[in-house]
Symmetry: C2
Subunit: 231 residues, 2 copies
């Protein structure tokens, strides 16, 4: 809309900031790429001249980051919503990871901008993403289920989850399983069980295959029964 705007009164400059963010958000949503977020496009859509954006954001990148961070509130909300009433810490962690993946795939553009781009320092989006997983991991450690430094374990889990969703986002043409949920499930199970194991066996690499296969067969025979009963 190129409709005329009545100039805001002194003190109401903040209102334009929100309008700019909304216009930017709409652009991202419609185009599905951050390349569509042009200062000129944003300005045109807000009904304002291009350099006016600079009154509220120091650069295009700052605007891009700000508009992408907006949806992070939703991540916080989903995390809170799904974390309650899950007594078992390991199941809570798995739930947390699933919410994480779902959030990333629901907001691929924003996730890509904040987590898959060279960011000078550490992006606030990344810190938030990690924190939720780290909290759930720490709970497992406190409960005696996982052993080791919670932060390191959480980084491992985060890596697995991020790798999964970022590949799904960046390489949609790869021959993934028809349902991306299947891959996410696999990664969650793998990362969860792997973390549980990796923090118990000694640090010097993966045990030899013979040992691995033999011991695992014993363990999983038991699990096959129990998990079937209680799941």
């Amino acid at each position: 809309m190129g409709a005329k705007r009545t100039k805001a009164r002194p003190g109401e400059g903040e209102k334009l900031r929100d309008e700019i963010l909304s216009a930017a958000d709409a652009l991202l949503g419609e185009a599905g790429t951050d390349e569509a977020l042009t200062l000129r496009a944003v300005a045109r859509r807000t009904g304002v001249s291009t350099p006016s954006v600079y009154a509220h954001f120091p650069s295009r990148d700052a605007l891009l980051e700000a508009v992408c961070l907006r949806v992070w509130d939703e991540l916080a909300h989903r995390m809170r919503e799904h974390a309650v009433e899950v007594a078992d810490p390991m199941r809570a962690l798995s739930r947390c990871a699933r919410v994480y993946a779902r959030f990333a795939l629901d907001h691929p553009v924003q996730y890509r901008v904040l987590l898959m781009r060279p960011s000078g320092g550490s992006s606030p989006g990344a810190v938030a993403c990690f924190q939720y997983l780290a909290d759930a991991t720490a709970t497992c450690v406190r409960a005696g289920i996982l052993h080791g430094e919670p932060e390191v374990l959480a980084m491992g889990l985060w890596s697995a989850m991020h790798g999964c969703v970022s590949l799904l986002i960046a390489q949609p043409g790869f021959g993934w399983p028809e349902e991306s949920e299947a891959l996410i499930d696999t990664v969650i199970r793998m990362a969860g069980l792997g973390t549980a194991l990796a923090c118990r066996v000694p640090r010097d690499a993966i045990p030899p295959s013979a040992v691995l296969a033999e011991d695992l067969d014993g363990v999983t025979a038991g699990w096959a029964v129990r998990a079937g009963r209680t799941g």
Copy 2:
């Protein structure tokens, strides 16, 4: 260098293509960002006019992809070099994953361009990366150490490894362990062991924490001895 070029003779047009690729490679290396790869900069450095690049590459993106794919030969070479003479399939897989991570961190710009960007189809770089891990995984399956669909297991492993290195690349300011090798080790152990376990326990989620902790304690007590002896 703006030095004059003697125009190539007919049939020697391919030579310019290589010079362009080299110039582009140097630009990426010096700047550490693909944003420095400007058609004008490439042309200037090659001693040629800007549109001449279009005789060999249909677009800037095509040139960028081509120059990044160049280092993939090195990945192939490293894989072949390190894969030989590792008899234990599980150790070979772990070795393969380590080489993968090392390669990615040694070529962050190229890795980012080919794997961390929205690519219409599936990028050849991604396919290659996956293939090496998939081969090593398939060997483990054939050896009876891992069970399940090799492709799915490999995707899980790939996710974990890619997540690890892509976060290290894109979020260098995050509070990672001082030595990135430590994180890589953790992820490899975690992903490897997790894959070994996840393809054995039934599909319906992670076992309840009580079961998990109890069984794992039994397993890992044995491993602590054996792995210490044979590692």
